[in-house]
Amino acid sequence: MSSIISISGVTKTYATGFKALKEINLDIERGEIFALLGPNGAGKTTLISIVCGIVNRSSGTVTVNGHDIGRDYRAARSLIGLVPQELTIDAFETVWATVNYSRGLFGKAPNKEFVEKVLRDLSLWDKKDSKAITLSGGMKRRLMIAKALSHEPRVLFLDEPTAGVDVELRQDMWAMVRRLREEGVTIILTTHYIEEAEAMADRVGVINKGEIILVEGKAELMRKLGRKQMNLELRAPLAAVPDSLSHYSLELSDDGNQLTYTYDNQSDRPGVASLIRDLEAAGVQFRDLETKNSSLEEIFVNLLRQEP
């Protein structure tokens, strides 16, 4: 059994009749970093909340390391650490007290050394006697992470971890996620910052309107759905694209100095080499050229556009 979380046929209909999740089937592999992408209101947080036991599902089953989240909720939940999107901490507790509280809540024996290590790793050690209310937003976010890590989870959920977070913390967090992965922790992060998924994830799932519309390895996703673009800087401006090149669907910049060619990796459209030959034949000379891959963001936007 390689998947650590197995979600099958999970639906959620709220009392208002709103169908937040239609029918979710998803397996999270042991030890991977999985990015769940989707626009606001797609159902990301609802799905996480169901796995973590905060929201009841309407139907379907979820297992965590083989433990059913309903029947065997203690075993399932004790494996999971959750960092929710909102900064929700008891403001009057000290950092030290609240992190130790979290550890106790999850049934772990007190371990001062471990809690100290967690706080040091997150640059919170200096603040251990401060009350949560006195911390800055970034520090509160670190504290939420410390609480989730305090009970040594095997699966960590990060719900929009870098929303409104400064660059330094974002980089610290990415480093932390990589370190946890090396320790064998499975990480599921939701985000609508695609660059985050692009930088971190092994696999990407896209959720929209309560349905998983795609799950792929990041590299395959980029290869399959990614597009390449070639920009040619011309020696002399063109008034129009020559007719002999029309089947390339080239785009000419307004000032006539640049031609852009967009092509899929997999498509059978004529390749770059033939374009260059045809350009030469048409007497179009260029000074420079560059190619680039489309980002996950562009892929994502295209995917959602294709949705009915």
Partner: protein, 259 residues
């Protein structure tokens, strides 16, 4: 619920400790203010007015009101402690952690209600000690005194817990204690024997559950009661059973906790 899995005593202890720590952090609000208000009752009712009132059931008026005053504080503090303890994390959102933790509903109840009830019992004993400074006291049935104290603290902490889960706003949180519990307590014989009431009111009063608490509690002090002790104890247990049933239903349905 998986009965095979070991209970999470560490979680119960963690919650209980946080609740107790909160009481010591807000010592002014949790301990000192009830002591001050109780002292004021003694000054006003015990000394100023009490000196003009004859004995009730052979008990000096100042001493007569002690059990009622203890109950007054016990009831309101149990409710406010427990309701706030569960409402506050709901309000700020930090309840996510409790809901995602490997704890059973029973453990959550034991921890929160245990914390609130402990604080109330401590408070009741402090008020008793304060009262002893003003009036001569005697306790004829110390075992029953403690039993009524603990039973009432647990029952009304449970009641407060229910209010805390039910309440959607701070206003609702205050509503039940303010509009229902305080009047019932004042009309429940804290300051008088219900035998002093005219005919029909005496009957109406018997529908007030607080009457039974105060009557039973006063009996444990002075051996004199408005209604028989068995009935008092029975009514207290009935109220406890009702609260337990409501809590069981809340947890079965996830009412206002898990949607």
């Amino acid at each position: 619920m998986n009965l095979r899995a070991a209970p999470n005593f560490r979680a119960v202890w963690a919650i209980y400790r946080v609740e107790m720590a909160r009481a010591f952090r807000t010592v002014l609000q949790s301990i000192i203010s009830p002591v001050i208000s109780t002292s004021l009752y003694f000054v006003v009712f015990g000394s100023a007015i009490g000196s003009r009132i004859t004995e009730i059931d052979g008990i000096a008026y100042g001493a007569f009101i002690v059990p009622g005053l203890m109950m007054l504080s016990l009831l309101t503090q149990s409710i406010s402690n427990a309701s706030f303890a569960i409402y506050f994390p709901k309000f700020v959102g930090s309840i996510y952690e409790l809901l995602s933790a490997p704890v059973s509903y029973l453990e959550i109840i034991i921890a929160y209600v245990g914390g609130a009830a402990t604080k109330s019992v401590i408070l009741g004993l402090i008020i008793l000690a304060t009262a002893a400074l003003f009036v001569p006291l005697r306790i004829e049935h110390p075992f029953w005194m403690i039993a009524f104290l603990v039973l009432t603290a647990v029952t009304f902490s449970l009641f407060g817990f229910i209010i805390g889960i039910w309440a959607k706003t701070f206003e609702q949180l205050q509503l039940v204690p303010l509009l229902i519990v305080t009047p019932l307590t004042f009309l429940g014989g804290s300051f008088y024997s219900i035998h002093m009431l005219p005919g029909i009111w005496k009957t109406i009063t018997l529908f007030n559950p607080v009457v039974y608490l105060i009557s039973g509690f006063r009996w444990s002090f002075y051996g004199k009661a408005d209604v028989s002790v068995g009935v008092s104890l029975g009514m207290t247990l009935v109220f406890l059973a009702i609260c337990i049933a409501i809590v069981a239903w809340i947890f079965k349905t996830g009412y206002r906790l898990r949607n």
